[in-house]
């Protein structure tokens, strides 16, 4: 993962909409007065949500002024965390986990599918402009490896064919069912369950 590239095409202006403005104010209130800078991560996330899932430079400046902190400090935070996208992403955004457990279970095969079916490079829009993909670090669903995150949902226990099917569905604007693709209920054992047998809810 190299340093994130900044999009060359940048909107001139960014401002929170009314709802986000209220949310931002309430987030800032969570911190003691004078420590409003602590809200920077939450505000960046708000800005990302508002702006089609990516943060333009104007939004960073807007937030820096909003929180009375230097531009570079906001910029540092935005480039540090992988959850902030600094270039436009697709309406359907695939984040493929490639950390060790997923990698051992074949995450790079999924990456190959993404390269083939979406775009050659990470963070570049597909030809129809609807999808893009990104390799990310551990998403915390190692028991269901390999997995990826599509927008807000996890798609687990994948293999290349299954991912291809998902991408095909997506390109027809159908949203496939999230969760395990080997029929598991969350992370239960695949074959016979050996623990918590007496527990109904398990």
């Amino acid at each position: 993962m190299a340093v994130k590239k900044i999009s060359k095409v940048q909107p001139e202006k960014f401002e929170f909409n009314k709802k986000n403005n209220e949310t931002a104010e309430s987030i800032i209130k969570n911190y003691p007065s004078g420590k409003q800078q602590s809200a920077v991560m939450a505000l960046l996330y708000l800005a990302q949500k508002q702006n089609d899932n990516w943060i333009p430079l104007s939004a960073m400046k807007y937030i820096a002024k909003y929180l009375d902190m230097p531009y570079i400090k906001v910029y540092e935070v935005a480039t540090f965390y992988s959850m902030y996208n600094l270039t436009p992403v697709g309406k359907y955004f695939f984040q493929v986990c490639t950390t060790t457990p997923c990698m051992l279970r074949g995450a790079y095969n999924l990456v190959d599918v993404c390269k083939r079916k979406i775009s050659e490079e990470e963070n570049r829009l597909s030809e129809d402009g609807k999808t893009s993909w990104l390799e990310v670090e551990c998403l915390g669903a190692c028991v269901n490896a390999p997995m990826l995150q599509l927008n807000e949902d996890y798609y687990e226990d994948l293999d290349p064919t299954k991912l291809e099917q998902i991408i095909d569905k997506i390109s027809n604007d159908e949203v496939p069912k999230p969760g395990s693709y080997r029929g598991r209920l969350s992370s239960e054992p695949e074959n016979t369950r050996k623990t918590l047998i007496g527990n109904k809810n398990a």
């Binding site: 993962m1 190299a2 230097p70 570079i72 910029y75 540092e76």
Partner: protein
């Protein structure tokens, strides 16, 4: 006090010191990259590991506060092995380009890898590459060499007060950069070059010029402003290659301003290296004898009261003293002046024109009022002290009129002289503040001393401060911020025209003088008519362009000379180089000119001049002043803080290409800047 044991040596340290400082007190040297005395603690290079009893792992000594009863070891095998490990990681991504790196020979990483490095690398993978970053015309970057100590970031944020540097990305991909690669907008920016322990940030104007061991190093002082920063001048043959700061806790700590550091290339441009005489309204090169002859003939046929002399902004005290003797003894004229405009200076007491709180003392001040001054440009180093004070104590800082960004917040109040009258008459809220505070500092800039009501403001304010017991042996709240390095020295030598009605300036404006001798003075504001102008100086600038005879002199790096800084400290600048071509040291020119006119030298040699000068200073020369405070009245006027062309404020800076480049970039910033 805490008692510790370092390598079986007992030390006592103050509470709040770090383990690293304690080890140093015990005489143990600790290697470090990120730790710096003047900056906050980061603790990210891990080079300063030491062993502590009862700790299973070695500890980072720079970040660990010293505690009672600690037992530390700094030279065990374990420590050495730990540091070797750290060094190996630091070198994993560091390029092997010392032969082409400007830092070579004065590089912390190079030095320390001699002790802790291993001869080959176990890192078989590709080394990373980081693209170069643009940081302005002074700082050359080679970010592949960066070891992420973050000293530069901390310096920019804490000392310089321009939080423009930051670390983007993370882990192996971390990169140090300015926001969107803009030039650093600070007058202290080049100090990051000294701070950088490796060759990531090096000096752009000095790139591939010389190796440190080839240079002759002369410890001297700076004359770009009145602060008198302590510097080291590195020369290669005649040429001044670079200027570096020297540590002086009382004046510049470890920093110098960009002008001090980079105006040195102005020392080789536009130089006057041979005497010139104007023949048929054209300046023609001539010999010294010829030039002296022209001058002495002209002086001998002119009435002494028709001759006036002006001392320049970077003239050393020897020259000033020689000029004073020359005017008193050789010409017998009283028209010698060190100011270049009508400044009100009451020379009866020395403290009337000094920065009495002292540069170091400003740090303990609890209220700072700026009147007609912009310390950021007039005395950059002093401004960083004010900022330091602000950061430490959140001191209230008030300015009459908005003077722009000073790198710290300040309250702006009305910039009419009425405000000062109100303060003096106890009608202003600030009066109460001044009375309440123990160490207030009122800083008068030169812009206020040239006002019509300057005598009123100065004398009445002083009276007010005396009444409220703010001028005492303990603390003197009255400060004058002089702009030029020669100013205080020439006041000490009493080189001011005798009365306070500025007759000399009126005569100058009315073209009443027949001969003007400019001792490096380029800032006079008058229209030349029939005056015969003799310019003694180093650079072909405004003064030389109107001159009829030019006698080439030396700059501050080419002659020994005393300077008194704005707080009244007498310091000596040493000769690092020699004057170019035919040029001579300034005092020599005056001495020889005198022998041409009177057939008699003023001094036998320079020692005699210095003895006589020091004698004069010791004799508390203030007895001699006959300064009479004029009758003054209050006048309501606006205090306009004169804007300073920071990068072009004197002849050396104006001749410097680097300074011009800085100026262009600073001027283009607001235009291309992305601030909305």
């Amino acid at each position: 006090m805490l008692k510790l044991k370092v390598n079986d040596i007992d030390v006592e340290v103050e509470e709040g010191t770090t383990v690293l400082q304690a080890c140093e007190q015990a005489g143990a040297e600790i290697p470090r990259f990120c730790y710096h005395e003047k900056l906050s603690i980061a603790g990210n290079c891990r080079m300063c590991l030491v062993e502590m009893e009862k700790s299973p792992k070695p500890i980072a000594s720079c970040a660990m506060p010293a505690a009672e009863g600690m037992v530390l070891k700094t030279n065990t095998e374990k420590v050495k092995k730990a540091r070797k490990g750290v060094m190996e990681f630091l070198l994993a991504n560091h390029p092997l380009d010392c032969p082409v790196c400007d830092q070579g020979g004065e590089c912390d990483l190079q030095d320390q890898s001699m002790y802790y490095g291993i001869d080959k690398s176990r890192f078989k993978e590709n080394k990373r590459y980081v693209p170069e970053k643009y940081m302005g015309p002074l700082i050359k970057t080679q970010m592949t060499r960066c070891i992420h100590c973050t000293r530069c970031i901390r310096f920019a944020t804490e000392v310089a007060g321009v939080p423009e540097l930051g670390a983007i990305g993370r882990g192996e991909n971390m990169q140090i950069t300015t926001y969107l690669e803009k030039a650093m907008e600070s007058e202290l920016s080049a100090n990051v070059i000294d701070l950088c322990p490796v060759g990531a940030l090096t000096s752009k104007p000095y790139v591939f010029e010389a190796r440190p061991w080839e240079l002759k190093k002369t410890e001297t002082i700076d004359v770009m402003d009145a602060v008198g920063s302590n510097i080291r001048v590195d020369t290669y043959g005649w040429e001044v290659k670079r200027v570096l700061p020297r540590i002086n806790e009382e004046i510049n700590e470890e920093w110098i301003s960009d002008k001090t550091r980079y105006a040195c290339d102005g020392l080789k441009n536009q130089r006057l290296d041979t005497p010139y005489v104007k023949i048929n309204s054209k300046l023609k090169p001539s010999s010294w004898d010829e030039a002296f002859k022209v001058v002495s003939e002209r002086i001998s046929i002119t009435k002494s009261e028709k001759i006036a002399g002006f001392i320049g902004d970077m003239t050393n005290m020897e020259t000033t003293y020689a000029a004073k003797d020359f005017f008193e003894k050789t010409i017998k004229s009283e028209n010698l002046e060190s100011r270049y405009e009508k400044l009100y200076i009451n020379t009866n007491v020395r403290s009337n024109y000094l920065f009495n709180s002292s540069i170091e003392g400003i740090e303990k001040s609890d209220l700072i009022i700026l009147i007609g001054t912009n310390p950021r440009f007039e005395a950059t180093i002093l401004n960083s002290r004010i900022r330091k004070n602000y950061l430490k104590n959140k001191t209230e800082i008030i300015s009459l009129g908005d003077v722009g960004d000073l790198t710290y917040p300040y309250q702006v109040i009305s910039n009419y002289t009425d405000t000062i009258k109100d303060i003096i008459d106890n009608k202003h809220e600030i009066s109460e503040k001044i009375k309440k505070k123990k160490y207030p500092s009122i800083i008068f800039g030169q812009s206020v001393l040239k006002l019509k009501s300057a005598p009123y403001i100065f004398e009445e304010f002083k009276k007010y401060l005396l009444e409220n017991n703010k001028i005492s042996d303990d603390w003197n709240a009255l400060n004058i911020l002089s702009k030029n390095s020669s100013t205080v020295g020439s006041y000490d030598l009493n080189v001011l025209s005798k009365n306070s009605s500025y007759e000399i300036f009126n005569k100058l404006e009315n073209n009443n003088f027949e001969i003007l001798i400019l001792f490096g003075q380029d800032n006079l504001n008058f229209e030349k008519k029939n005056e015969f102008i003799i310019y003694i100086g180093s650079h072909g600038d405004k003064g030389a362009s109107i001159a009829d005879v030019i006698l080439p002199g030396a700059t501050y790096t080419e002659q020994d000379g005393y300077f008194t800084n704005l707080e009244g400290k007498l310091q000596k600048a040493y000769k690092a180089s020699y004057p170019p071509g035919e040029a001579k040291e300034d005092w020599q020119i005056i001495n020889e000119l005198s022998s041409f006119i009177k057939r008699k030298n003023l001094y036998k040699d320079k020692n005699q001049l210095i003895d006589s000068l020091i004698n004069y200073l010791n004799l508390n020369n203030k007895n001699e002043t006959d300064f009479e405070v004029p009758e003054y009245n209050f006048k309501s006027e606006k205090i306009i803080t004169e804007e300073i062309d920071y990068y072009h404020s004197n002849v050396i800076a104006r001749a410097s290409k680097t300074m011009s480049e800085c100026k262009n970039i600073r001027m283009s910033l607001p235009k291309t800047g992305t601030d909305n």
